[in-house]
Amino acid sequence: MPRKTRGNSRGDFLLGTLDMLILRSVFSAPAHGHTIAHVIEKSSSDILQVEHGSLYPALHRLEDRGFISGFWGTSESNRRARYYRITPLGRKHLIAERSRWQSLVEGVSRVLGPATE
């Protein structure tokens, strides 16, 4: 069985995208998993549907790589929850990923051209 490689070279396009979305949603303030899932859905006007279960391994992978750090806290509804806050390394990574994404989008739109009927 081929070993899955980690890091930016990961072939899985969507996973990389999920990482970016997570980092963006904890950019301004720490948040817990439940909030993050809903924030991503809401801020994309429900275009992006995140499978909530896959969110957690993604969070832990990001934590493992040092982009976010987790801590236990109390949620707005007064329940125990694990919060994640972005680290300086995570900020740098998000900025780099965002510009990469933008150039990707730009490139793809140029190839596709303006929408024609």
Binding site: Y56, P57, D64, R80, A81, R82
Partner: protein, 862 residues
């Protein structure tokens, strides 16, 4: 990698569970707020989250790359391997002990070979060390002053890096009034520097200021005579009556110049106690030997003009220990141990392979549950490694025991021929342990390889049927068994030949009775006994003293003590019969009147020596008589010998029975003749004591001889039991025969054990087949025959191949055989019958088990 988090795997799992639970409560609350009932809300939350198991798997994927996780999985593999070994304890113990035996024996053997053959002199650059002596020309004498001058010159000569003096002698050391006789070496202070790498256990090494009054002790002496007293350094001990200060203790690993030297006394090169001191030098590495010798000779002559004309005699230090017997025996021993090693490794492999069926079922089960092939092979590797590690530990223990045993039990056979202290050879240990682990790895990987190559469902089906296993593995197991039995057969033939040689050697006719005889050699000092009259008086005193001892029946003086102590008369022999014999070595003993009676050598014709009878004449042995006068009566005839320094014409007065010195080296057993000994014994004076019923203690005899004259010192007297001289000659063949027999026994039992276990597995595997056969009407006897045939076929092919290789080996062994031919029918019959019986015994129980299968129980099992 951040360690602390990964350390706590359990906490991490708990965190995950709690986090997911937190999500569920939040989501449930959200859904409830939308108006769903509690149960529905909870269910929807679960649906939103998705498959929890997949989340956990994804989590594991994240952790997998971490170092600790890897270490943990290695630990888990190791634990699993241990468990799987423990599940089949008897097979595992057998495999581990066989692997241990293989590693232990081979390492021990290579340690011995290394000590005896490869590094008998364990000092740096041993081949540049040599004894050098001054050989005077005819009519020239080398004075001790000249010799000292030469040594001084050599110390500054470019030919040598070092030049020192080292003599070996015997001395008495008195501790609390008791004198113990030990080997002593008189050394110049620089000897230890020259040898290199010598570190004292206690105290220090010696320097020029210690000359004349200092001594170093060996660790063994320090432990035995001084109870390992750490305060010994600086104390005074009495050696040969003179007080000496102990400056240090040398470790038991240091052996020089003989293996049992216990004392090193520091002497000045100017006044060595020996008349012809041994000069030990280390040749300069960049000077070619002929040039070095020329330089050294010139330097010696320049230092003392009286040395003009001397030549240098060089005896490399290594040559003192290289023993022709071991040179011949080493390849045989190495070959033997390699064969044993192969047998045992093949056995371990076949044992592991025989478990294939059980393993296959487990492997296919694990494979069906989703274990990737890589994982299964890794597990096999882990199991082999655990087995290999345990085997290596056992091997080290066995090797250590064997070395300790050979040190104490085979002392006369081994250490005599080496300065190497016989410590476990690490290189050999690494090589043997490595090959042992490789053998287990191969044996472990083959089942994993074969087991995982097939599709799991096919495997499950095969395993369920429980009748056949992978054909390749079975063929391999059988081939290995055939090989093992062949090797065991080879070893057994070789060992039997060696044992028979040893028996022949020890039972060989010696022509005299060595029981109850003591040989005493006394060097009467020239200063105290200058002329024949004083020597005769001294000898008479000694004889009178010895006769007083209890148990002494005969006392006989001679020059030359049997078995091989006679003066060698080398030259061209001729007799009054026509023709000359030619060049020949003959032992000539000068003997007193009691000699023949003492040794029990019977007279065949003529007369023996009688003090009252002054007629000239010599007595010849049968062999010499037969050579000089074939078929004729030698009495009254004359013979002549022309040699260097040994020329004479002799008249034969009597013929006695021949004495023999049985030895593998036939040249040691020479024909002999006897001359009458004059009234004054030569020096050394030799005295044989014949005793009945028991001989006095050798120490008692020595004390008595020492008491006869104050100038006779401990080192001037040597007492030995005559039988020991024969035993010494037997020690090496005995050691070789014992080793060969041990090797053969191990190989035999290992291969019989292998056959037994493989057949047992086969029977267990074919239970169902036997059941069907029985159901179809096969009688129990027919089934037994089936199994027996399988085993005996393997044994017979092994024996056939083994006989062929044994034949080749036996021919190579010819130089080590005494009185036994390689076609010796006794050897071959006994080997083949032992092998046949052993393999038969190994097959018997599995065959009976096959016969006794209970059909009903078999059916119920399904």
């Amino acid at each position: 990698v951040r360690w602390p988090r990964w350390f706590r795997r359990e906490r991490r799992e708990r965190d995950l569970a709690e986090e997911l639970e937190s999500y569920l409560t939040h989501e449930t609350a959200d859904q409830a707020a939308r108006g769903l009932s509690d149960t529905d809300a909870r269910r929807t939350a679960h649906r939103q989250l998705g498959n929890m198991t997949r989340i956990r798997e994804a989590e594991y994927e994240i952790r997998r790359g971490h170092l600790l996780t890897r270490l943990e999985s290695i630990w888990l593999d190791g634990r699993l391997a241990l468990r799987s070994l423990a599940r089949r304890p008897s097979g595992s113990v057998a495999a581990i002990s066989m692997l241990g035996l293989a590693i232990g024996i081979t390492t021990a053997m290579f340690t011995v070979v290394d000590a005896l053959s490869l590094r008998p002199v364990p000092f740096p650059q041993p081949d540049t060390l040599a004894y050098v002596s001054l050989q005077p020309a005819r009519t020239q004498t080398v004075t001790s002053d000249a010799s000292a001058a030469a040594l001084r010159a050599w110390q500054h000569s470019p030919a040598f890096v070092h030049a020192e003096s080292a003599d070996s002698d015997t001395a008495g050391i008195s501790v609390d009034g008791v004198v113990a006789v030990r080997r002593i070496s008189h050394v110049t202070p620089g000897v230890f520097d020259m040898l290199g790498g010598v570190r004292p256990l206690l105290g220090r090494l010696v320097n020029a200021s210690d000359i004349g009054h200092s001594v170093l002790l060996s660790e063994d002496l320090w432990r035995s005579l001084f109870q390992a007293d750490r305060e010994i350094v600086g104390r005074s001990v009495t050696i040969d009556g003179t007080p000496q200060v102990v400056v240090g203790v040398l470790p038991s690993e240091f052996r020089f110049p003989t293996w049992n030297t216990a004392l090193w006394q520091v002497v000045s090169p100017e006044h060595p106690p020996a008349t012809t001191p041994n000069r030990l030098v280390r040749f300069a590495p960049n000077v070619p030997p002929p040039d070095a010798l020329r330089l050294a000779t010139e330097a010696a002559i320049a230092a003392d003009p009286s040395l003009a004309g001397v030549t240098l005699r060089v005896r490399p230090l290594i040559d003192q220990f290289v023993d022709p017997y071991y040179q011949r025996a080493m390849p045989v021993l190495v070959g033997g141990v390699v064969l044993v090693f192969l047998v045992l490794c093949a056995n371990v492999s076949s044992l592991l392979l025989a478990r294939l069926t059980a393993r296959q079922r487990e492997l296919s089960m694990r494979s069906a549950l989703g274990a990737p092939r890589r994982r299964l092979i890794r597990q096999a590797v882990a199991e082999s490694c655990v087995l290999g590690a345990l085997g290596t530990v056992a091997g080290i223990a066995i090797c250590w025991t064997l070395i300790a045993l050979s040190r104490s039990w085979l002392s006369e056979a081994f250490p005599l021929h080496t300065l190497n202290p016989l410590s476990i050879d690490l290189r050999a240990l690494v090589v043997t342990a490595g090959s042992g682990v490789v053998a287990t790895l191969v044996a472990g990987l083959i089942p994993a390889w074969m087991g995982t190559r097939l599709a799991p469902n096919a495997l499950l089906r095969v395993a369920d049927r429980g009748s056949t296993d992978a054909r390749g593995a079975r063929a391999l197991t059988r081939t290995m068994l055939v090989g093992e039995i062949a090797l065991a057969c080879t070893l057994l033939v070789a060992a039997t030949l060696l044992v028979r040689s040893f028996i022949n050697l020890s039972n060989a006719d010696r022509g005299l009775d060595p029981k109850g005889k003591l040989g005493v050699m006394v060097w009467l000092p020239r200063q105290a006994f200058p002329d024949p009259a004083s020597r005769a008086l001294g000898a008479q005193r000694i004889e009178e003293g010895v006769r007083q001892l209890p148990g002494v029946r005969h006392v006989a003086w001679s020059y030359g003590l049997p078995p091989h102590g006679g003066g060698t008369w080398s030259g061209v022999w001729s007799s009054d019969a026509p023709g000359t014999i030619g060049q020949m070595d003959v032992a000539g003993y000068a003997v007193g009147p009691d000699f023949f009676a003492l040794y029990g050598i019977p007279l065949i014709r003529g007369r023996l020596f009688d003090p009252a009878d002054q007629r000239p004449g010599v007595v010849v042995g049968e062999r010499l008589a037969h050579l000089l006068w074939p078929g004729l009566d030698p009495v009254g005839r004359t013979f002549r010998v022309d040699g260097r320094g040994t020329t004479g014409t002799f008249h034969v007065a009597g013929l006695v029975k021949e004495t023999h010195f049985p030895s593998l080296d036939a040249t040691l057993d020479m024909p002999q003749f006897y001359l009458p000994l004059g009234t004054a014994p030569t020096t050394p004076a030799m005295l044989t004591i014949g005793c009945d019923p028991v001989c006095p203690q050798t120490d008692l005899v020595r004390q008595l001889v020492l008491a006869t004259h104050p100038s006779i010192r401990v080192r001037d007297v040597r007492v030995q039991v005559l039988e020991d001289v024969y035993l010494e000659q037997l020690a090496r063949p005995r050691a070789l025969a014992a080793l060969g027999l041990a090797f053969a026994a191990i190989a035999l039992f290992a291969s019989a054990g292998g056959l037994f276990s493989v057949l047992s597995y086969a029977v267990a595997r074919r239970k169902r087949e036997f059941g069907i056969r029985t159901a179809l009407g096969a009688s129990p006897n027919q089934i037994r025959r089936l199994v027996l045939r399988q085993g005996l076929l393997v044994a017979a092919s092994g024996m056939a191949i083994g006989s062929a290789t044994a034949w080749l080996l036996a021919r190579a062994l010819a130089a080590l055989q005494y009185g036994v031919a390689i076609t010796d029918p006794v050897t071959w019959c006994s080997v083949l019958s032992v092998l046949g019986l052993t393999t038969m015994a190994a097959c018997w129980r599995p065959a009976r088990q096959a016969m006794r299968h209970d059909l009903v129980a078999l059916l119920r099992e399904e």
